[in-house]
């Protein structure tokens, strides 16, 4: 098994945090995992990407040219990942969720939680990690911080 995930968004949208929660949970489950962040010179506002590989075998190289799953969280992230939007790649794109976010009052700061919940669901379907385990990692990281109730609501919405 080798599952490749590419997360892409704007700097500040929490791409690296999502990546860390997924990878650390995979690590705790004894899986082989690699995470490599990619961002430019900008302190804020540039594209932030995370390449993740999860496997039951040793990983010798952390990058890839075709992911199994791609998350796009902004317009510039969509442009930047154009080469990765190939057939056979499962894609979740923020543009397809604009109305849903409006109808359900999902604030921009919680949208990454919505996508993390979606990704966790998918990883459970693939029998890689259980959704509950990623939720527990999220809870450990954010439950004592401001906005946790809203984040928890958004996780369940997904």
């Amino acid at each position: 098994m080798m599952y490749k995930i590419l997360l892409a968004g704007d700097g500040g949208q929490g791409i690296q945090t999502l990546s860390y929660l997924i990878c650390n949970t995979a690590f705790k489950n004894g899986l082989e995992v690699s995470h490599i962040p990619n961002y430019g010179l900008e302190q804020k506002g540039g594209v932030s990407m995370a390449y993740i590989k999860i496997s039951d075998k040793a990983i010798t190289y952390p990058k890839f040219s075709k992911p199994d799953f791609l998350l796009i969280m902004s317009d510039q992230a969509r442009d930047r990942t154009a080469d990765y939007q190939q057939s056979g790649v499962e894609i979740i794109d923020i543009k397809d969720h604009v109305d849903f976010f409006k109808e359900n009052n999902v604030e921009p700061y919680s949208r990454n939680i919505f996508f993390l919940s979606k990704i966790s669901e998918m990883l459970e379907k693939q029998e890689i990690i259980k959704k509950q385990e990623i939720f527990e990692a999220l809870e450990e990281k954010l439950s004592k911080k401001r906005g946790w109730e809203e984040n928890h609501r958004v996780w369940n919405l997904a």
Partner: protein, 345 residues
């Protein structure tokens, strides 16, 4: 920590741990991406320790000469730098070349020339090996994964102090920023530092000579010592080379992508092996020549315009006539799919 335990670490965290375990006592440096995390990681670890220190200098030139001074006084000092910082570091490293100082540098390659890009390349091979004026005899290790990076960082310190040649751990921002599970090999004994000069041991260690002949003799002796060291420290990896028709040559993290590609090529019925120099200097030429005699083609894969290829050509026995092709992708990562396509072309 004495036993192996599974940890989830980045390359920078691994390097800092290795420097601590190697018994390094001081770091002098100037922050530059993608090497900054080594400086900040070291500061976080040693800030409250009385026997270890750090200094963020005004630039890499100052950091480099601080290393020269510290190691002459018998202190295990090191620096970490990248890109244009590696260029500036050459002034002090060249002095270390001339004076045979155990200068330890962690060089984390980024794109060039000049400020270039900030994360990745394999374009600092020439600079790491031959950056100064003169021939610059240096020990240069290129790790391919995080566990090896730990061991080679420890060896960089040990061999710098054992053989007294400037020693470099040459890596890149991909490896430095990658977070992976690791089991580090802590069972490595340290070579203890000794002062090159002290009130008891007064010695004139020179980097300038009045007469040409004096310098020539000194360099000849250095070369003799370097060749002797080469017999003991040269390292390489040969992967799936038995009965292979083609030999891919790659170093550092790129060799990891090559291994992925070889697995796929094998399933396509192709017999392809990998030769990976772990020491880029001294270069493992005996192993290279042995393998070059067995195969039909050498194929170099690297994230530069041919710095590794040039090393291969320099070290290839002149009696061996063989085709050398390659995939040269300066300043970008190389994925296994690209390597498979290039081999099958």
């Amino acid at each position: 920590m004495s036993e192996k335990q599974r940890q989830f670490l980045t390359g920078a965290e691994v390097v800092v741990q290795a420097c601590l375990d190697a018994g390094a006592t001081q770091m002098y440096g100037y922050p530059i991406t993608p090497g900054t995390e080594v400086l900040t990681g070291w500061i976080n670890q040693v800030d409250k320790l009385e026997d270890k220190m750090y200094l963020q200098t005004e630039d890499e030139i100052a950091a480099g000469f601080a290393i020269c001074g510290a190691v002459m006084g018998g202190k295990k000092a090191f620096t970490a730098t990248a890109g244009p910082g590696t260029t500036l570091m050459q002034d002090a490293m060249s002095m270390a070349d001339g004076m045979r100082l155990p200068f330890v540098a962690i060089i984390i390659q980024r794109g060039g020339p000049s400020s270039g890009t900030v994360i990745y390349s394999q374009q600092e091979v020439n600079l790491a090996i031959h950056g100064g004026n003169g021939e610059g005899m240096r020990l240069v290790y290129s790790p391919s994964n995080l566990e090896e990076m730990y061991e080679l960082t420890r060896l960089t310190f040990n061999n710098a102090w054992k053989y007294r040649f400037p020693s470099v751990l040459l890596s890149d921002g991909f490896l430095m920023k990658t977070r992976q599970p690791v089991e580090l090999n802590f069972e490595i004994e340290n070579v203890e530092p000794t002062a090159l000069v002290s009130p008891e041991v007064q010695k004139n260690i020179r980097n300038i000579y009045s007469f040409e002949e004096e310098l020539r003799l000194e360099l000849e002796n250095q070369e003799k010592d370097f060749n002797k060291m080469a017999e003991e420290v040269t390292k390489s990896e040969s992967y799936k080379v038995e009965d292979c028709d083609e030999l891919i040559i790659a170093h550092g993290i790129v060799a990891g992508a090559v291994k992925e590609a070889i697995e796929e090529l094998e399933s396509q019925g192709k017999k392809v092996g990998l030769f990976r120099p772990i020491t880029l200097s001294p270069f493992p030429k005996d192993e290279l020549n042995k393998l070059a005699k067995q195969v039909k083609r050498l194929f170099v894969v690297e994230s530069s315009m041919g710095q590794l290829r040039d090393l291969v050509k320099q070290n290839l026995d002149s009696k061996i006539s063989i085709e050398i092709d390659g995939l040269y992708r300066p300043a970008v990562g190389i994925e296994s799919e690209e390597i498979i396509k290039a081999i099958n072309k």
